[in-house]
Point group: C2
Chain length 324, copies 2
């Protein structure tokens, strides 16, 4: 039986908040954030006591268009330093690597970089390539995570094999990722139990990355946390692809550690997010609810939102048809 760690009033010293506003938000606008905005998120996170700040992806400019995507899709060392300098703060810097878009030889040794953590996002079938990246980043001196995506589409036996495999790597954190925002709290708890068992046997931590398709990103994050997950992903105002993520301001409102402060977040939201909401579209809506309930990738919902399509019955039935 899974036991709770801590109580409603206790401080869990193992908890780490990871802000991925720029990285997951970059999926909304192809990483075209201004330096001022990125610096604003960075400084807000420092002031709020956030533990890790994910500044973007480290895709290779040899594999993706620098005309199409903004700087935070590539995260060159000089671009990061333009924002964070030497990062003389208690907050660590993270970047995310995509399989097939990252060239491992481009990753600098840790001694030459302000980046502290490399997070590797991979589908189950990409695990061998993910392991190469994990081993390389670990050997170069970085903390590493593995974010196994789309597990709601996997056979459980395949997930077990993936977990068994990654548990033998030097990876520091294994993430429960709800790519399609399709998991209910009961399922998140069972997944947390599964991940924790294998992580604790091998001295690793577990993380949670949730999406808000069914208004459950925050609930699933605290459900997973209550049962022992240590790394909690969140974004300011839930900014992120599709229905977005667990809102950082909700998460910080729940946590009892006095080092976390909500006012800097409220300030950034009133100054920067309120105007941004007029330009970019993200967050819970009916099309995202439908793809979440049907355990589908949100791309059809993103298309419906972009086109202003509110024919929800037709949308629902077309997805049902596609599943048959």
């Amino acid at each position: 039986m899974l036991k709770k760690k801590g109580t409603m009033l206790s401080v869990r010293e193992d908890l780490r908040i990871l802000d991925c506003t720029i990285r997951d938000g970059g999926l909304v606008n192809k990483f075209h954030f201004t330096d001022d905005f990125v610096r604003g998120v960075y400084e807000t996170c420092v002031a709020s006591g956030v533990d890790y700040f994910e500044i973007g992806k480290n895709n290779s400019p040899t594999l993706m268009s620098e005309d199409e995507f903004g700087a935070w899709n590539f995260c060159k060392e000089e671009d990061i330093r333009r924002i964070v300098g030497e990062n003389n703060t208690d907050m660590k810097i993270a970047v995310m690597s995509d399989i097939g878009r990252t060239v491992k030889d481009e990753l600098l040794p840790k001694a030459d970089s302000v980046v502290d953590m490399v997070r590797i996002a991979a589908y189950a079938h990409q695990i061998p390539e993910a392991i190469e990246l994990i081993e390389d980043a670990h050997a170069k001196g970085y903390e590493t995570t593995i974010n196994i995506m789309a597990i709601s589409k996997l056979f459980e036996s395949d997930l077990d094999e993936v977990l068994e495999t990654v548990s033998k790597t030097p990876v520091d954190v294994i993430y429960v990722v709800d790519s399609f925002g399709s998991f209910y709290p009961e399922q998140i708890r069972k997944l947390t139990e599964k991940y924790l068992k294998i992580a604790e046997e091998t001295g690793k931590k577990v993380g949670i990355h949730a999406h808000n398709n069914m208004q459950l990103a925050y609930a699933n994050t605290i459900e997973s946390m209550v049962y022992g997950t240590s790394f909690l992903d969140a974004t300011i105002s839930g900014l992120g692809r599709g229905a977005g993520n667990c809102p950082l301001e909700l998460l910080i409102g729940f946590l009892k550690n006095p080092k976390y402060k909500i006012q800097p977040l409220l300030k950034f939201i009133q100054d920067e997010i309120v105007p941004l909401e007029k330009e970019l579209d993200w967050g819970y809506s009916i099309p995202y609810m439908i793809t979440g309930q049907l355990n589908e990738h949100p791309r059809s919902a993103m298309k419906a939102r972009a086109e202003g399509d509110t024919q929800f019955v037709k949308f629902y039935n077309s997805l049902l048809d596609a599943q048959q």
Copy 2:
């Protein structure tokens, strides 16, 4: 130890969905819905398999202004029948009574009314008056519920006394009500356990009525349900005062009983809710998050929303000041 009732895949025969779109939504527009809109919600609920439809409040026209409030604040028999006729459906009709605004002698005998259920909303200190209304409605032939409000502000020993007292009445359902949207799933589970214990001893059912201040209305509803709550309140698109309620379309997407259908809800949302969202303001936003986190009545947040005030830091600090 609280046990789960049913599994992710089972049908719970004790479950009842209660739609309160018109009643809780009436708090947004002082019950000024058109007959077409009310009939639309009624027919949508019938088609979706909803079990109870709460059409409004039965306040007395002798105590409140009929000029200020629309028909659904009073629910006269002829007004209800104009919408539902004899209600020859499987769905039952409910109205809500407020303490101090309802005149019990105005309640018709059940034989003369299409109403099936009277729900009594009361603060702890109003329980003696609530019991009078429960006994009167029960004697006249109605099903009854007691919705004890603002329990997040009560001492637990006082709540225990309230529950002990209402358990001795003929009331059929005791509702866990999260008036300020301030409860976390762990707290909802503890409350569910407390309510269920006393309800099961006295042959009653438990209900849940959640608000969405912290994006937890749906999560809290299914959390409470999983542990044995039978009556589940929801509204279409969460329409309701302030941050709104548990969205009915999310709830129906979760439940496995094939009698519940989502398409009629999607149709009503695309036809009626999408335009309504341009006129009325409800649903999750930062001011409601703040009152929820601070366990305060949403009235200050409603004022901020009405004024378009997005000075969130000032708003937060003013509430903190008021609590000191």
